[in-house]
Amino acid sequence: MNHALLILTLLIAPLIGFLFNGLRFRSHNAYLAGAVATGASAISFLCSVTLWTKLVSLPVENRVLETKFFEWIAVGTLKIPFGFVVDQISIIMILIITGVGSLIHLFSIGYMSHDERPSKFFAYLNLFLFNMLVLVLGDNMLMTFVGWEGVGLCSYLLIGFWFTDPAKAAAGMKAFVTNRIGDAGFLIGMFILFFTFGTLDYSDLAAVVPKVAELGWTGPVTMACLFLFLGAAGKSAQIPLYVWLPDAMAGPTPVSALIHAATMVTAGVYLFVRLSAVLVLAPHAMEVIAWTGALTALMAATIGITQWDIKKILAYSTVSQLGYMFMAVGVGAFPAAQFHLMTHAFFKALMFLGSGSVIHAMHEEQDIRKMGGLKKYLPVTYITFLMGWLAIIGIPPFAGFFSKDEILWQAWSSPHGSKGLWAIGAITAACTAFYMTRLMALTFWGKSRVSPDVHPHESPPTMAIPLIVLGILSVIGGWIGIPHVIGEVLPGHPPNIFAHWLEPVVAKVEAGHGSAVMEWSLMGFSVGLAGIFAWLAYDFYVRVPSRPKAVAAALGPAYRLVENKYFVDEFYFGKIINPLVEASKAIWLYIDVNFIDKATYFAGDLVSGLAQLVKTIQNGKTQSYALYMALGVVIIMTVVLSS
């Protein structure tokens, strides 16, 4: 099978799954729908694996499998092929997408078995898969944009899947609109790039951009990167556009796992890894990205500490982790960003699925205050969730440790990085450890607070298997990216396979300045910090359950600020959206109805008034008419004779 056909199959399989399930959307047969969808996803995964093997067999410097199906848009010099490229970056992405995707599909069969519209759900899921694949495989920015909007669309559909609840429908809309704001930025970024470099093709861009760099003329590139970052911020939930992601938890939990943790939200990171060659030309933009990422990470992590909804906590955690990734992008650590993307996909998908399993077991209960002590009811879930927990708080040798530490180290050592960034990253890591442990503690440990009429039960195998697989991945997923300093001391000196793999395709930033000692000590510091805060959380929520309240009371307004998510939503609604709606109403009323229309009526009224005048003059008196004539003659004659 040649690669074009493989790529086609890869793309078409979910599409066929979508059409199959979409056309029989009324069906209640979750197993058939799930089987088809999962099958489609699995086929894609197989294709991805095959492509990977093909790619590996190619020489390092030319690991590209390209195919152009047809010319999509061709106007003037703008030539956009419907083309896809599999290279070192996209292969990782498609492996994650189809791999994790398949698992989540599998999980969904069980999860959605009692739903009213399983076919619809799987159709959307497949459609999402298709769009995500287009996003990462597209060989030019516009194709990426196609997928970019497409995944947004599917996200919209899936968040609002249970649309009869207005809040859920609203969440979907919020997600789409927020994404659209980003998309607008993406568009402008594309325009700038197009008119600066004359192409939107990734390979062409990579080829052309350095030449521009020689001119030292980077203004447009900076602007382009900032606008693209707006797009990425929308998609990947960064400040100021992160607000949609917590709300997006309104969707079914597998959706949260797939879209809002593992794949879609990382698209922004992917974009910048893809455009690393451009981004490195814009150091100012990188700085903005890094700091925004860091701040997002911190902010989301702090919010995570105060939340009670299991999925919300995970959502804020996702935002926070995405912040990490952007921090990595911002400091030029593209492989690190991509690496964290991958490990995060594993453990966050795992945790979401785990939470799904919990919610499933708890009969749609999401409030962790009503859980506790679930480990004895849900052993598989508990164990796998534990893996995820360890991974995310960065305990070696779990996956998260390697990727997160890599980022922190780069933030410290990269020429684009700074101590401040590192510090924020470290604080965030501490917070992460705290809120994740809190989550574990309240859900699985301690005393059960489950209401008596709920009888938690372990999930069926279709749900368990993905958990187990992802759990394993969360443990071992990081081992392909072992940092140099650790690799050195480990037996067999495992190299940083991941970084090497990406090396040919991402822009090189000059090596960090830092000694191995420093790296070790920072590593130790952050792990220690995580450990301390994890213990602290354990202490708070398991050993002395009364303490959190006391602390919260002691913190007072600060706590309320964080608990209410810094009032960002309130700010957006109160200060931007509602005024906009009111202003629109005012515009409609005062400009359209009362001004333009009134102006029209005024013309009518004017004529009407004149008509009244004419009618008054036309008074029916013969002698008045004679007078008009006489006056007419006199006036005409006066005018004629006087000149």
Partner: protein, 108 residues
């Protein structure tokens, strides 16, 4: 200031002035009298004034077109009088008065 010489030398101007005055009286009758028959008389007066100026001009111009015109005008004036009076009679039959103020139905 009065140019007695010019005033004494009776010429066309004098007749034009006379006809103008009579014409304006006719106009005033038409425009101001309420009795339709007097209005008709006003029209006659106007036509007569015109006749005067025609005749005066005919003398001036030295041809008879003016006279022909006067001849026609007189005939037409007579016919007009006939028509007008017939209308007046029709009005009178209905309202027992011949006041123009009855004719203000059509307006606006």
């Amino acid at each position: 200031m009065l140019d007695t010489e010019a005033l004494m030398r009776i010429g066309l101007g004098h007749y034009i002035a006379l006809s103008g005055i009579i014409f304006s009286f006719g106009m005033i009758a038409v425009m101001m009298r309420k009795n339709v028959i007097v209005m008709l008389m006003g029209v006659e007066l106007m036509l007569n004034a015109v006749n005067l100026s025609f005749v005066a001009f005919a003398k001036e111009a030295g041809n008879l077109n003016g006279h022909i015109m006067v001849f026609f005008v007189m005939t037409i004036a007579a016919a007009e009088a006939g028509v007008g009076l017939a209308l007046a009679v029709a009005i009178y039959k209905k309202f027992h008065e011949v006041n123009i103020r009855f004719f203000e139905q059509l307006k606006g």
